[in-house]
């Protein structure tokens, strides 16, 4: 089959690789119909995530048609399913308490040591996201093997087209959980850093949850425009002093909750960010965390800090004093996707949520490398790329 494979920093290619096979009895094989490039794929593309090997198939946001099932899969051939990017066994302690992204069994035993050393505990398995998270082949391909297919995939009714539901795989539940972790109350003023896909969906979710005011922070005009269309007020951090503006816009109190939907590759011109960029470049791996640092200073005392943005390592000059002295609550984590898919599918069906506005480009799988390049370099206009393995090249938008 054809698949998007990683070869090095800024070097991804569509190669011919082996077709996936059923290995364990709960496996299923999908024929991919739609798969997206994620902002966190850009961390792999930029070479800042350890444990990626040449030839690894990327992609963790995908859906498709079930074409083969293992003996104990509950799926049926011909069903259309969306697959959560987090792989969960359904049987361990963490799965039972719905902390699916902390599944104890989905990362193969021999792959757990690296993340256990880094974080004190091994990470769960994720599709297409380095050997730190299991070394699973991802879904930016014609076919994919889905382990524990009786737990993760959600069956999609025929009348909902791919583009309406594809984002259930990651960014919609991630934005939703980002807002949920901010424990939004009706009178709240909420600030969201980053108007990428997760940030936009967090804004949308915060509004659905009843926040009185949502303030979006970014510097790309088109992304800020999308945030505005969702009902947010916006701040361009290149033009405005963010902390001062947030104080004023929240009546001098500060934001009740802040959401960092930026993560480890934050833009920005603060001195510490420039130092962190330099460190990332020479490979000593400090996460750039300027958005998070700013969020911690902007949130009111006793407020909530939610971090859906991805971090991988350490960061320098963290405002720990502000965290403690202001008595902040911090919640974070990879999304427990399986916890949200059913409810969010209902919200898509009844029209409460429509995420199709985000898609700016549709490309055949063969053009995935161009998709990566442009998604990275032209973030303002390339808001979300959907790859379609079945699409003829000349049909590309």
């Amino acid at each position: 089959m054809r698949a998007l494979t990683w070869h090095g920093t800024h070097d991804v290619r569509v190669d011919t690789v082996d077709d996936p096979e059923i290995i364990n009895s709960r496996d299923a094989i999908l024929k991919i119909t739609s798969t997206a490039i994620c902002g966190s794929d850009l961390h792999l593309y930029d070479g800042v995530i350890p444990g990626v090997r040449p030839g690894d198939v990327l992609g963790h946001e995908f859906m498709g048609e079930v074409v083969e099932t293992g003996r104990d899969s509950t799926l049926k051939k011909g069903q259309r399913v969306v697959v959560p990017f987090t792989i969960s066994c359904g049987g361990c302690f963490h799965c039972k308490i719905q902390q699916y992204s902390a599944c104890e069994n989905s990362n193969p035993a021999e792959k757990q040591d690296m993340s256990a050393t880094l974080y004190g505990h091994p990470m769960a398995g994720l599709f297409g996201y380095s050997h730190l998270t299991g070394g699973y082949s991802g879904g930016q391909a014609e076919y994919v093997r889905v382990p524990y297919s009786d737990v993760g995939p959600i069956v999609i009714p025929d009348h909902l087209e791919d583009e309406k539901v594809l984002f259930l795989s990651d960014i919609l539940p991630t934005g939703w959980m980002g807002a949920e972790n901010a424990e939004i109350q009706p009178d709240d003023t909420v600030a969201v850093w980053g108007c990428g896909p997760v940030g936009l969906f967090a804004i949308q979710s915060a509004i659905v949850m009843g926040a009185s005011k949502v303030i979006a922070i970014d510097h790309y005009p088109h992304r800020l425009e999308l945030a505005k269309q969702l009902g947010a007020e916006v701040i361009d951090f290149r033009k405005t002093d963010v902390r001062e503006a947030l104080m004023e816009m929240s009546g001098g109190i500060g934001c009740d909750a802040v959401i960092d939907a930026v993560g480890m590759e934050a833009h920005g011109f603060a001195i510490d960010n420039m130092i962190d960029i330099a460190k990332q470049k020479i490979g000593i791996g400090a996460d750039r965390a300027s958005a998070l640092k700013q969020a911690i200073l902007a949130v009111r005392p006793g407020g909530r800090v939610s971090i859906p943005g991805v971090y991988g390592g350490m960061t320098d000059k963290f405002p720990l004093g502000a965290l403690m002295e202001k008595g902040l609550q911090v919640r974070s984590g990879q999304t427990h996707v399986q916890r949200y898919t059913k409810d969010l599918l209902e919200k898509i069906e009844d029209g409460t949520l429509d995420t199709t506005f985000l898609i700016s480009h549709r490309l055949p799988l063969e053009e995935a490398p161009r998709g990566y390049k442009n998604f990275r370099e032209e973030q303002d206009s390339w808001t979300k790329v959907v790859l379609k393995p079945g699409m003829e090249q000349e049909q590309a938008a």
């Binding site: 096979e21 709960r26 359904g90 361990c92 039972k96 382990p147």
Partner: protein, 216 residues
């Protein structure tokens, strides 16, 4: 199994390996649950040198104690999650473990059960004719609430003395701590999910298939 690949250690090394065997076993029994000044298991002590011969690990498995004990009690089940154990067969009251060694070779460890307390503890030790001197114990205890069972595996291995002994220990017992940890995780996977998790993409790329390939 190809007999020519089996290293005939029984003839050459057993004398050295088992000379200290009895004493080592007594030491194991005395030490396995011995506490120091604190309540932590002995095998979690900081080790300035690397000569602490006891390794151990605990996992919590969301299954009843009885079920886990029954599975483990049938030693022929163990190779399904112990990656370097090719087979375990019974000969009278002895159990013969065929363990994979580098270069497609195998070694044989002969053990007998020295303790079997239903739903609690199974302990074994090597006996005469074994290529390696080893003792092991698995114990099962209820975890709080509905969390299942805490399973602890403690193993003792005594590398034979001398230069040659160290070489053999290195050859056969490479990172026994890592092996024990991974094996116990696979046991947990098998019990909680019914399968051993793999990220392989094809059947040829599973670790099992790759090991067989290396042996060929």
């Amino acid at each position: 199994m190809d007999d020519r690949k089996t290293i005939g250690l029984a003839g050459t090394m057993a004398g050295i390996a088992l000379a200290a065997g009895g004493a080592a076993f007594a030491g194991f029994l005395a030490q396995r649950h011995k506490q120091g000044d604190d309540d932590a298991p002995l095998y979690t002590r900081k080790r300035p040198g690397t000569d602490n011969p006891i390794v151990g690990r605990t996992v919590t498995i969301r299954k009843p104690r009885e079920e886990l004990y029954e599975f483990w009690k049938d030693f022929q089940n163990l190779p399904s999650f112990m990656e370097n154990v090719e087979s375990i067969r019974e000969e009278g009251d002895a159990r013969i473990w065929t363990i994979k060694a580098p270069a497609g070779r195998t070694v044989e460890v002969r053990t007998k059960i020295v303790q079997d307390t239903a739903n609690q503890t199974i302990a074994w030790r090597s006996v005469e004719g074994s290529d390696i001197d080893t003792n092991g114990e698995v114990s099962f205890a209820d975890a709080p609430g509905d969390r299942g069972t805490r399973v602890s595996l403690v193993m003792f291995y005594d590398p034979p003395a001398g230069e040659l002994g160290r070489a053999i220990a290195k050859l056969f017992l490479r990172e026994p701590e890592v092996q024990a940890r991974h094996d116990l995780k696979r046991f947990k996977m098998l019990m909680e999910t019914g399968e051993v998790t793999t990220s392989a993409h094809t059947n040829d790329a599973t670790r099992k298939a790759k090991q067989q390939e290396n042996e060929a």
